[in-house]
Symmetry: C2
Subunit: 334 residues, 2 copies
């Protein structure tokens, strides 16, 4: 087993940072995670990453063969390896590839988290064989990985696909990006929390949610309560789905994709979100599109799409790519 | 001169259909036009097209060498040569290539009018040398030709780029597509007419526009009055610009293009529309885009972008392409 080669996929999210050890066939064989927001500084964040990588790159004290590290992060620019002051991280621009590079003598590559999720779906998920599709990831924020004619849409400066920052409600909720009415202020784990508080303010309906403070409320709790038919929690998912359905119909008008795949933490809610979304999508989608894009829920294991996609940047599905020596360098920290 | 070879570019618009004779170097040497909406039937429309083609394909009674016909139309599908019941034409789906093919023994090709405009800008206009840009055409409706990585965005079924049918005002104005709040119900020649009537209803301000009926009002008149500082006409352009600016900032968030080029009849207004648009764009555009796309006004002669782009489908800028015999067939009606 010591000769088996792995890649490391890292998914930096607004809430969690997840590191995964990926085998040649796209299986995430081991994972570790830490809370992104508990790191007070970039230095601290870097050291937590290094510790996590250290943990995954060893087994029973022996070093594993690691052919490279693929990183997925919000607002990441693959062109220069930096993370550009994303709304949900507090450290400004991070030169992530240059920060980690000195520690490892294997390739370290970066891509946008949603682009990584799209790659993961294209290589190992529902988008296998598709040439035109959109993956929407809904975690702390909302991002999109868009594939046009079999290729990721990067744009002129590598920052295309910011569906989460399209204005869906003019003059609406304030966003971390300093604008108002962005999609992700409604359709994301933090967006649905805001929706719950709006609903609690608007209605007189009784709800378990009235017992929870804003800071203590998680999307997971809203989901659990909606499953138990808490009326406000159910309404929150219906409201979110109505907005998401409109976003999807706009996305179809612009991209005419074969499918839109929904993924990310918010999709834990499954049909509670999928049903109102699909209903609103069909009500809103342009009729001239005879073959309408199908709306699918990602079938990849929770949180693994971006890890698999990021790790696939290193080689083909975790295998050694042309850019890496046939006999990969032993993975070591310096 | 009889040996010179031309291509024919046809731009089918909701108001006018314009036919142009295009020389090898991308010059539109002769044009003819008719009112699209004055054709009661597809048969009548076809006969008007044939008459126009006839007119352009002769000079002093002698037949010109025509290497092919490129057609641009709203909601056109290049895949099967049909026009798919566009909101602004009243005849349902039109099998346009198959209708014209029997008359001519040269290639007849079709593309979306906005895609044709994008090709025109890429070959002969402001987008020369650009790889990522968006052309927005504002006539009776609003369309977009989107170029990603040097290639037109077609989508899975060839109907991508319908920016005009993104919902910009939820629950807003009714659209010909049977939905509400579509961009083109605000930002188009017909949209600004609706805006004028909304402003006349809302305010008590005196205006020359109060003397004109809805049916008699044209975007051109609004433009003329705005130039003479009619307050309602000026407000109408400011309102239109504010919405267009938001559309542009959304477009930049999604595509991260190098430039957005504005074209079509509504752009006759020039700075009257461009200034409020650019202002709203800069207020709304996502700050994380360090290099922001520039907003430009097409410099191609009025209405010629789509004609040039459509005709360029036949060969390279009107020259004979590989698909056409080196000695092009004499262009004749059967």
């Amino acid at each position: 087993m010591h000769n088996e080669t792995f890649t490391l996929g890292i998914d930096i999210g607004g809430t969690n940072t997840v590191l995964g050890l990926v085998s040649w066939n796209g299986t995430c064989v081991e994972k570790t995670r830490f809370f992104t927001q508990e790191c007070p500084s970039v230095e601290d964040f870097k050291m937590k990453l290094v510790a996590g990588i250290s943990q995954l790159s060893q087994k029973n004290g022996a070093a594993r063969n690691i052919s490279g590290i693929g990183i997925a992060a919000p607002a990441a620019r693959h062109i220069d390896g930096t993370i550009q002051s994303p709304a949900n991280l507090q450290w400004g621009t991070i030169d992530i590839v240059r920060l980690l590079k000195p520690y490892y003598n294997v390739p370290v590559v970066l891509t946008n988290d949603s682009n990584a999720a799209a790659l993961g779906e294209m290589k190992f998920g529902l988008a296998r064989g598709m040439k035109n599709f959109v993956v929407i990831t809904m975690g702390t924020g909302l991002g999109a990985g868009i594939v046009v004619d079999g290729r990721l849409l990067y744009g002129e400066n590598g920052v295309a696909g910011e569906l989460g920052h399209m204005t869906i409600e003019p003059g609406g909720r304030h966003c971390g990006c300093k604008r108002q009415g962005c999609v992700e202020t409604y359709v994301s784990a933090s967006g649905i929390r805001r929706t719950v508080f709006e609903l609690l303010a608007d209605s007189t309906e009784d709800s378990e949610l009235r017992k929870i403070s804003f800071n203590d409320l998680s999307a997971e709790t809203i989901y659990e309560l909606a499953r138990n038919e808490d009326p406000v929690a159910v309404q929150a998912f219906n409201f979110t789905g109505r907005i998401l359905g409109r976003v999807l119909s706009n996305t179809v008008a612009v991209f005419d994709p074969e499918a839109i795949i929904l993924s990310g933490g918010l999709m834990h809610a499954g049909r509670l979100l999928l049903e109102p979304t699909t209903k609103a999508y069909h009500e809103n989608v342009l009729k001239l599109h005879k073959k309408k894009a199908v709306i699918l829920q990602s079938q990849l294991k929770d949180g693994e799409a971006a890890i698999l996609g990021a790790s696939s940047l290193i080689g083909d599905g975790g295998a050694v790519s042309e850019n890496i020596p046939a006999s990969p360098t032993m993975f070591q920290e310096t």
